[in-house]
Amino acid sequence: MTWSDASLIAPILWVTLGGVAVLMTDAFWRRAGTGHLTAVSVVFLTIAAIYAARSDASGSAFAGALAADSFSAFFNLTFIVVALITLALGSSYFADEEQPLVEFFPLVMFATVGMMVMAAATDMITIFLGLETMSISLYVLAALQRRSILSMEAGFKYLILGAFSSAFLLYGMALLYGSTGSTHLPTMATAIQGVGFDRDLLFWMGWGFLLVGLGFKIAMVPFHMWTPDVYDGSPAPVAGFMAAGVKAASFAAMLRVVWTGLPALGDMWIDMLVVFAVVTMTAGNLIALAQSNLKRMLAYSAIAHAGYLLVGIVATTPSMTDPAARGILFYLMVYALMNLGAFALITLVSSREGEKVDLAGFAGLARRHPVISACVTVFMLSLAGIPPTAGFWGKVYVFEAAVRDGHTVLAVIALLNSAVAMFYYLRVVVLMYMREPEDEAYTGLDPQVGAAMVVLAVALLWIGLFPGPMAELARQGVSALAGSF
């Protein structure tokens, strides 16, 4: 490790240091409360964000294992934003526990480090390292509420199935190494230009297993079965963190991987991905329709959104001006914001009344909390993809790219799916505004969570009205990726 390597991955290092610092604070300062730990984390995340935003240095670090470019910078910023909001939600959520669950803070930091490594990785080994760093932190986070049987179950299920999928991922990587002779993505990209790879079974099986491993993390059907159980059982801020961060990180890794294989052999497996996209979004939306529990509904909605994003992957081609990849980046950032918002609502409700997140509990919320309800309306409209919210543009960019790429039927299916999804998102809004509140409906208000929700809603409306700057940021992120291969 040289100084230049260190400076290239400065944001990752700062978050790591932050995680260590939080651990130390807790260990050596007995009276440190969640507020102090949040403050320490926020300081380090902010420093990391400044490094990520301002770094114009780009290059390859650690002999090609990691890349610092505008692609990783875009995702670093996304993950830091996600982590900041998760901490804001979590610090008030866990403050009420008999024994403060201080492990939450370092674990979120380390999971963020894992995500950042995944987005920066240009070597399969580093992807795996990042993925495991992230996942192991998340297994613990899911089971954080030791006294809750649901939380324990969530963590345990996630661990077993996660290990199962990691096995596939690792095996896939091994096969690919055997086939191409390298784990370094750009080297692999050059290797498969050679003759015979379209008929190399070793390569195709490796490719498939790799896809399974990443598909598990993004909740691609049929590797999605863990999602509802884990989201349902995990503490609400953790579930939001999973939905927003894990998805973005896995798609970042997927984009890097896909762009090595796609240019040469894309037509070989693209229709397989089309099938996955269609099945994923359709299954997600149809099952979400029938949910009466908001957390489970959002879990299936997360599956459906993975399907929309796969549409973007199908349409993507590595070029400087590729609208599809730009769309995916835009979509992921927006998706993170709106999902965090939706899970903030759950945080608000469940932190005071246990884990009661039945949809009926939101009836008449608008009467008691007009501002919160307005924010939730923005999140739901954005998830449904209705202007003037940011979610609309995410869909426009991805679907438009699909049509341009000749996948018109796929885009139409995605649009029909969006129409179906409208029902369950708007049902929340209808319940809030048009039903009488029930007696034991939620009454309290946590100012910290409320403030986070207002910030998120304003951001979504802002991006929805002025998508230009965010689209430009996404374009820059993609241009680096296109240049690196």
């Binding site: 299920k157 199935l161 008929r199 099986m205 397989m272 149809l286």
Partner: protein, 678 residues
């Protein structure tokens, strides 16, 4: 078109009314009335000051560089369709922002007095400010989509303000009618925009695809869709500017408070259609068909509305039909290619029609919200200032020299005459009708005996200064406002024409600018083949144009005076005001006119009822109940229940099942990959 000098203060012209809206809208009744009024009037007055600054800055530039731009942000970057949000002031929009903020300030001021006792004082100013914001976006937009944002914004405000007193069902019904009728037009507007976007996207580089500058720079790309896009956009204009066939909402829109009628439904919003067509002149000069349609529709509207105005008894309805009729004149001007003259009439009409409405509001205010002229009369002595100012406006709208209306109307008629004497004849008849119904309105309101009940009579009073002061300012403008277009044959310089010339440079030879610019016209011939015939006409008529102008001007002046005199004589001498119209016209024609040609009834039976029947019997009972509810909703629900059953087997919380499903997926994928790859 010159690419423009940057001027970042333009955004504040738009933002000030928006801030005013935010303050009055959010704080609403928590604000004291004085604060609401100050914010409401002040924000528009501030915008007016900035508009004057923009105008002065523009005037200091050389004629062909008179464009100020304020690029705001990249708005819709989707693939090849790149649309920026930016504001632009050129000579045309400079006229419009001065009009909107200037007349707007006066009307805001007047409203302070008019709405003084109303419950929704702050709400009223919030809506009014929002309207000014949207209208300014409309005229300052540098691209068609942003113009459309303003277009929809003013439509929304119009709806909100027509139904301002929504407790009365008739008012909200009127608002709804305006909204729905406009929706038909807006659909046309959107389609027209899509046709243009489809031709331009990917053809004009990375620039602002639907920006006016971009479109004007590529007229050849627009040529294939000029007629269809032009007609569709014009359909939008018939909605907003109340032309046949979509004019029916405007008379009903009089349900709103009178300042709203003055600002939105007379001076500004309804002229948006004319503005849009003038703005898109580079498109319209390429299509003879659309231009012909615009001219004929404009003229017919002018005629039809003027005849209906003859027999209305509600003072605001007379003015509403008069507005429709005058808008027809403006469309006629655009249709014969005289865009600058159309805009000229927009400006002068704004002065005198705003004045007429505010005057009528003053009368209504005094009469305790009585609007029927049959109950008025003799108000001349009670309300001297209202009478004097409205009399000035009457002379202006009738077209008496040297009041404002004379210049613009006379020029429209002259341009129509150059296109075809037939157009002129009809336009001339409309001028006669206009003078007559205005004379009728003045006599019934201000002359003779007062016919109100005793209670109202005892409370008659002149309006307070805050209401009469705007009337006086507008009265002055109704006199001198036309002088900016003092024609050359009367020794003037026709300043407005020269001012607007850069905007309509492409029109060059198309009839509009020919007067005294024959040399300039020949240049246009070279560039625009379409215009060749008109240029020839221009050269032909150019020889005796001064004589023709004199003859036509004297003719329209004498018909205005004659018709006014005739109206005054007829109505002052007859005793029974209620029956005179009928006696004068005869039974059947009177019934036809007072029934407004039964167009509302025609629409009711030809469109609304069939749609209602279709919705009721086909869409609801069959499509909704049987297909959607029965087949789709319940069918899907049953289907889902089935899926749910299957899912419940799989999604049973048992991790081993999840792993099985996982494995099945892996096997399916492997089979596919080995068949494909191995």
């Amino acid at each position: 078109m010159h690419e423009g000098s940057p001027a970042e203060f333009l955004r504040w012209i738009v933002l000030l009314p928006l801030i005013g809206f935010a303050i009055n809208g959010l704080l609403n009744k928590r604000l004291p009335r004085a604060v609401s009024a100050t914010v409401g009037v002040g924000s528009v007055a501030g915008a007016f000051v900035l508009s004057v600054m923009a105008f002065l800055k523009l005037r200091a530039l050389p004629a062909d560089e008179r464009v100020l731009v304020d690029h705001l942000f990249s708005w819709i970057p989707v693939g090849e369709l790149n649309i920026d949000a930016g504001l632009m002031v050129d000579p045309l929009s400079a006229c419009m922002i001065l009009l909107v903020t200037g007349v707007g300030s006066l009307i805001h001021l007047y409203s302070v007095g008019y709405m003084a006792k109303d419950e929704g004082f702050a709400r009223f100013f919030a809506y009014l400010n929002l309207f000014v914001f949207a209208m300014l976006v409309l005229v300052l937009a540098d691209s068609l989509p942003l113009l459309f944002v303003g277009w929809e914004g003013v439509g929304l405000c119009s709806y909100l303000l027509i139904g301002f007193w929504f407790q009365d069902l008739a008012n909200s019904a009127a608002g709804k009618k305006a909204f729905v009728v406009n929706r038909v037009g807006d659909f046309g507007f959107l389609l027209g925009m899509f046709f243009i976007a489809e031709k331009l996207a990917g053809q004009v580089g990375d620039g602002n695809v639907l920006g006016f500058a971009t479109m004007a720079a590529h007229p050849e790309l627009l040529a294939p869709v000029a007629t269809v896009a032009g007609l569709l956009l014009f359909l939008g204009a018939t909605g907003k500017s109340a032309q046949i066939p979509l004019y029916v909402w405007l008379p009903d829109a009089m349900a709103g408070p009178t300042p709203v009628s003055a600002l939105i439904h007379a001076a500004t919003m309804v002229t948006a259609g004319v503005y849009m067509i003038a703005r898109m002149n580079f498109l319209y000069v390429q299509t003879e068909v659309a231009m012909g349609v615009i001219a004929v529709v404009g003229l017919l509207t002018a005629l039809v509305a003027a005849t209906i105005a003859l027999v209305q008894t509600d003072i605001k309805k007379v003015l509403a039909y008069s507005t429709v009729s005058q808008l027809g004149y403006m469309m006629l001007a655009c249709g014969v290619g005289a865009f600058a003259v159309g805009i000229f009439h927009v400006l002068t009409h704004a002065f005198f029609k705003a004045l007429l409405f505010l005057g009528a509001g003053s009368v209504i205010h005094a009469m305790h919200h009585e609007q029927d002229m049959r109950s008025m009369g003799g108000l001349r002595s009670v309300m001297p200032w209202t009478f004097r100012t409205m009399f000035v406006a009457t002379l202006a709208i009738a077209g008496v020299f040297p009041f404002a209306g004379f210049f613009s109307k006379d020029e429209i008629l002259y341009k129509a005459f150059l296109e075809s004497p037939l157009l002129w004849v009809v336009g001339f008849a409309v001028a006669a009708l206009t003078a007559f119904y205005m004379a009728r309105l003045m006599v019934m309101t201000f002359f003779g005996e007062n016919r109100a009940d005793a209670n109202t009579k005892s409370h008659l009073h002149e309006s307070p200064l805050i209401m009469t002061a705007p009337l006086m300012v507008l009265a002055v403008l109704s006199v001198v406002g036309g002088w900016m277009g003092w024609p050359e044959f009367l020794g003037g310089s026709n300043w407005l024409h020269h001012w607007l010339e850069p905007v309509f440079a492409g029109v060059g030879a198309h009839g509009a600018e020919v007067v005294g610019h024959v040399a300039g016209a020949t240049q246009g011939v070279a560039t625009h083949a379409v215009d060749a015939s008109h240029a020839a006409d221009a050269l032909h008529t150019g020889g005796h144009s001064v004589v023709t102008e004199w003859v036509l001007a004297l003719a329209s002046l004498s018909v205005a005076l004659g018709s006014l005199w005739f109206g005054f004589t007829v109505y002052t001498r007859r005793q029974s005001v209620a029956t005179q119209g009928q006696a004068f016209l005869g039974g059947a024609p009177h019934r036809l006119l007072s029934g407004k040609y039964f167009v509302d009834e025609l629409y009711e039976y030809a469109i609304i009822r069939p749609i209602g029947w279709l919705s009721d019997n086909v869409l609801w009972r069959f499509v909704d109940a049987v297909i959607i509810d029965g087949l789709l909703v319940n069918g899907v629900a049953r289907f889902l229940a089935m899926i749910g059953h299957v899912v419940r087997i799989l999604q049973n919380g048992l991790v081993r099942w999840y792993a099985y499903s996982f494995a099945v997926g892996v096997f399916a994928m492997l089979i596919y990959l080995t068949r494909k790859g191995g």
